[in-house]
């Protein structure tokens, strides 16, 4: 985004927000009418006629009536606006003059000035403003200008903090470094690059601080300790409050003026923030995308065996003719037949015109039987299908590998079976039979009854999947107490047994540890123990070894295999790593672009990959080098040693 269209687009976004526009109009009207008080008032705000006290609104010559001294409320409101707004503005200017330079210096140079100024900002903000103003009033007298001057100092940390944060964030940016290297003076860098970035936060903060200054100022005057020689909104409040029983309506006008101004300022501030954030989020998204690309490129540069690392362009080059085309056919029928079937690969219409086969009936002997599963996000014209026509079966005691690149839909399939799709995601078609029960039509609560005891889940990233605020032990024993009905002691005993079983040397100590006190490998063992703790019939493991060190990976895989055969579990292992597949799986299903393209037992698939995509994945090797199958075999065997 070029700098020239920035203010314009932000302004456009601001103007597109009706609430913000209303706020801006209200504020503009209030400011204008106060500025034009001498024209609009029609009366002297100080002219007092006791005979005319408490005239009702719409009296002759007094559009809003008169106060206890018979002064015209409309005139006082307009002239009072001048004083109140100028007073608040004074506080704002003082706060900006102190806070902005201090924030720039602290953020840009850091060091001792940063520590000292942070400490001072904390100090200033630890005292309630009104108490400080009362103290100042005790010795300096009741001048609104002096009060607002002091309040400006009290408000200055508001500017200081946002500026400092913004500068610290931008200081490390490459273009600032580039400017430094190219020999630009600090003052020029601050003026050209830094100020551009902090401008937005400063304007937002200004609108909020102005509202606070106005509120405090009228609060102080309302208390009767303010400057009552001038007609300000706060003084009008004080005056009206004294006659609250006689004429409560006199309180209404200054209250409305203050309330509307403060509300308009906050609404404008929020509108500005939204307008700026929209711009910020789009550029942040772009930045993140760039990072992903870099990371992938870096991984591709390594001799990695991960499918994830394969560059899409490299895939295209490797199989320019056989790569499936744009997969727009939603009803692509991908059928996965019973494990004994000879040929389990069904051609895709996108690259072959053969008619889809009949989808076989769900397999009653399977623990899990998925048919024509479709998962979509959003609704209406913008919905996006991420899994389509996935059918698979898993039997007791069998490990099914679900293999594919990132974004192939394998994790979405797993979450759909668990009933744990992220917000916005839902099963839009197909059936999920677990032990003969249809899950897609069951209520959320009744699917919950199955989790833990029927279907369990091992996540990918160990550290982020343990609640940091609870001890490992309680996270292990609570589900057993809830789901198996164990009492506290029995759950603890069983949890300790499980920790021992998954190879944790000091179960008692780990039981009493918080997640941040144990290593990633241990955390993954804890998660595996948690998953098998309620003796599930089906275990879904989503990349269970990806986040672990290579040495730990093999141990964890062996542990999974042992637990699986001990408990006769059916396992779906989601992975992108053929080494893991070769090591632990009985059968493998290959996913691409949301559908299963090929399914077979491991031996056959590795020996005779039928689908071009599988061939590409397995066979994208350097010419003359060992094939991917050999490499994966070697790795898998190495893992066993």
């Amino acid at each position: 985004m070029s700098t020239s269209d920035k203010p314009e687009t932000t302004l456009h976004r601001f103007l597109a927000n009706p609430l913000a526009v209303v706020g801006a109009i209200i504020l503009a009207l209030i400011v204008l009418s106060s500025a034009l008080a001498s024209v609009l008032a029609g009366a002297d705000p100080a002219f007092s006629a006791i005979r005319d006290a408490f005239l009702a609104p719409f009296s002759a010559g007094h559009p809003l009536g008169t106060d206890s001294a018979g002064r015209d409320i409309w005139a006082r409101l307009l002239y009072g606006g001048q004083i109140s707004l100028l007073g608040a503005l004074l506080a704002l200017v003082v706060a900006a003059l102190i806070g902005i330079p201090a924030g720039l210096l602290a953020g840009y140079y850091g060091r001792w000035f940063d520590s000292v100024s942070v400490w001072m900002a904390n100090l200033v903000q630890s005292m309630p403003g009104i108490v400080v103003l009362l103290a100042a009033r005790a010795v300096l007298g009741p001048s609104i200008w002096i009060s607002m001057l002091i309040f400006g100092v009290i408000l200055s940390p508001g500017f200081y903090r946002v500026v400092r944060t913004a500068v610290i964030n931008v200081r490390g940016e490459l273009y600032v470094d580039a400017a430094k290297v190219s020999g630009l003076r600090d003052s020029a860098i601050i003026g050209r690059h830094i100020l551009t970035v902090v401008r937005g936060p400063i304007i937002i903060q200004a609108s909020l601080l102005l509202g606070i200054a106005l509120a405090i100022q009228s609060g102080l005057e309302f208390l009767g300790v303010g400057d009552n020689s001038v007609p300000s909104w706060g003084n009008m409040l004080n005056e009206g409050f004294r006659s609250i029983y006689r004429a409560p309506i006199t309180l209404l006008w200054p209250s409305l003026a203050i309330g509307l101004t403060c509300a308009a300022l906050v609404i404008i501030g929020n509108g500005l923030r939204d307008a700026l954030e929209e711009r910020g989020s789009s550029s942040a998204r772009r930045g993140r995308r760039k990072n992903v690309v870099t990371a992938t490129a870096a991984m591709a540069a390594l001799p990695a065996v991960d499918v994830d690392a394969l560059d899409r362009d490299a895939l295209d080059e490797a199989a320019p003719l056989t790569r499936p085309g744009v997969n727009t056919a939603d009803e692509t029928e991908t059928i996965v037949t019973a494990p004994l079937a000879d040929l389990e690969f069904v051609p895709e219409p996108a690259w072959s015109d053969s008619t889809p086969l009949e989808t076989p009936e769900p397999d009653p002997s399977a623990v899990l039987s998925v048919r024509r599963l479709r998962v979509g996000y959003g609704s209406g014209p913008h919905d996006k299908t991420v899994v389509h026509n996935v059918s698979l079966d898993v039997h007791a005691g069998e490990v099914l590998g679900l293999v594919g690149e990132s974004g192939s839909g394998k994790t979405q399939t797993a979450f759909a079976v668990l009933g744990l799709l992220p917000t916005g995601g839902r099963v839009t078609n197909g059936s999920v039979l677990f032990d003969g029960d249809e899950l897609t039509t069951r209520s959320r609560a009744s699917i919950r009854e199955l989790r833990g005891t029927g279907i369990a889940y091992i996540p990918q990233e160990p550290m982020s999947n343990l609640d940091p605020s609870f001890k490992v032990g309680s996270q292990l024993s609570t589900p057993m107490m809830r789901r198996l009905g164990l009492d506290k002691r029995a759950a603890r005993t069983r949890a300790l047994e499980l920790l021992d079983r998954v190879g944790i040397r000091e179960p008692e100590r780990t039981y009493d540890s918080y997640p941040h006190e144990i290593s990633g490998g241990m955390a993954q063992r804890v998660l595996i123990a948690g998953a098998v703790s309620c003796r599930p019939r089906l275990l879904i493991a989503d990349e269970p070894t990806t986040a672990l060190d290579v040495t730990v990976q093999a141990e964890v895989l062996r542990l999974l295999r042992e637990l699986q055969s001990e408990q006769e579990m059916a396992v779906i292992l989601v992975t992108h790593n053929f080494g893991v597949v070769a090591d632990i799986c009985d059968r493998v299903a290959v996913m691409n672009k949301g559908t299963i393209v090929e399914q077979n037992d491991v031996e056959s698939l590795f020996a005779r990959p039928r689908h071009p995509y599988t061939q590409t994945l397995l066979g994208s090797t350097l010419e003359g080098g060992p094939s991917r199958i050999d490499l994966d075999r070697a790795e898998a065997e190495g893992a066993h040693r």
Binding site: M127, P248, R448, G452, A531
Partner: protein
């Protein structure tokens, strides 16, 4: 844990020391002719000189500060210039009213803000939008305007509750409740608005965490996950915001006490500051900063209790 408390206490004490020193010097340096002000225009030069000596105002400022500070540690805040009252007596007798108001407001605001924030984050949709709009309104409009509105509607027009007056909590709990409902309502609105907004954000963040999905996969009930795991992980943020809001609440209490004629610190503050009674002002400042320091310490301890990782620091 003990060293953590000791460190925080030391920090709070040093902060109070700086505040009191700065305030003491600024207040005395910017006020002149204190004795003349007390005695009035008719007093002779000799009388003024005698009064100055009596109050110790002729001695060097640093000496007076150290004396004042030593007195503070013994609970002696000096004597008011204008009334024959000990400052500590005047302030401490008013403290329970203000403290009961502050504590009750904080509890009410915390309960409502957490309930609204959690509900908005969990249910989203129209409830979420409503909470957002109410938050903006509660934040934007100054608390004393709400107080005035409440007085006019509930005390003057409907006559349900007394507009002014105060009954000691210990003397008549029900009567106390009647006199503080409106002040508490007025004070808590801003606090609720700010806190609910932050709790909502924190709960949404926690609900997106991986461990929440894993807890669900274990078959725990949604109720247990939200009220045990999500609440605990989101409360740190809520507590911190409540602590920050509390400073503003102290200021708000002064105004609201005046509106409802509650005999708390606020009324003392206004009465004495308009006369320039520096010993009372100093006492007020030191008590205020003490309350803020205690609240900050409690917030730190609470966050440490909720978040095991923060306990180490």
């Amino acid at each position: 844990m003990l060293s953590f408390i000791a460190k925080r206490t030391l920090l709070a004490l040093s902060q109070m020391l700086v505040i009191s020193a700065v305030a003491f010097f600024l207040l005395y340096l910017s006020s002149s002719g204190i004795a003349r002000t007390i005695l009035g225009e008719q007093a002779t030069e000799e009388q003024v000189a005698a009064k100055t000596a009596e109050l110790g105002l002729d001695r060097p400022l640093p000496v007076r500060y150290v004396e004042w500070l030593l007195g503070v540690f013994q609970g002696d805040l000096g004597r008011s210039y204008f009334t024959p009252q000990d400052v500590s007596d005047a302030l401490i007798s008013r403290l329970p009213t203000t403290l009961s108001l502050l504590i009750a407001t904080t509890i009410v605001a915390a309960l409502i803000a957490f309930a609204l924030g959690i509900a908005a984050a969990v249910y989203r949709g129209w409830l979420d939008r409503l909470v957002q709009i109410l938050s903006i309104a509660g934040y934007a409009i100054p608390g004393f305007l709400f107080a005035l509105l409440l007085v006019i509607v509930f005390a003057i027009n409907l006559g349900w509750l007394p507009a002014t007056g105060y009954v000691q909590l210990t003397a008549d709990p029900l009567g106390w409740l009647k006199t503080v409902i409106l002040p508490i309502a007025a004070l808590s609105i801003g606090m609720i608005a700010a806190t609910a907004q932050q709790v909502r954000g924190a709960v949404i963040d926690v609900l997106r965490q991986d461990y929440v999905r894993t807890l669900r996969s274990r078959g725990l009930s949604e109720r247990e996950i939200i009220f045990k795991h999500v609440l605990r992980n989101a409360s740190g943020t809520g507590l911190t915001v409540l602590g920050l809001q509390f400073v503003g609440l102290l200021g708000g209490a002064i105004v609201v006490e005046q509106i409802f004629a509650l005999p708390g610190l606020g009324t003392v503050a206004i009465q004495y500051t308009s006369r320039g009674d520096i010993p009372v002002v100093m006492g007020l400042l030191i008590i205020t900063s003490l309350i803020v320091a205690v609240v900050n310490l409690l917030v730190d301890l609470g966050v440490g209790f909720l978040n095991p990782k923060a306990r180490v620091a």
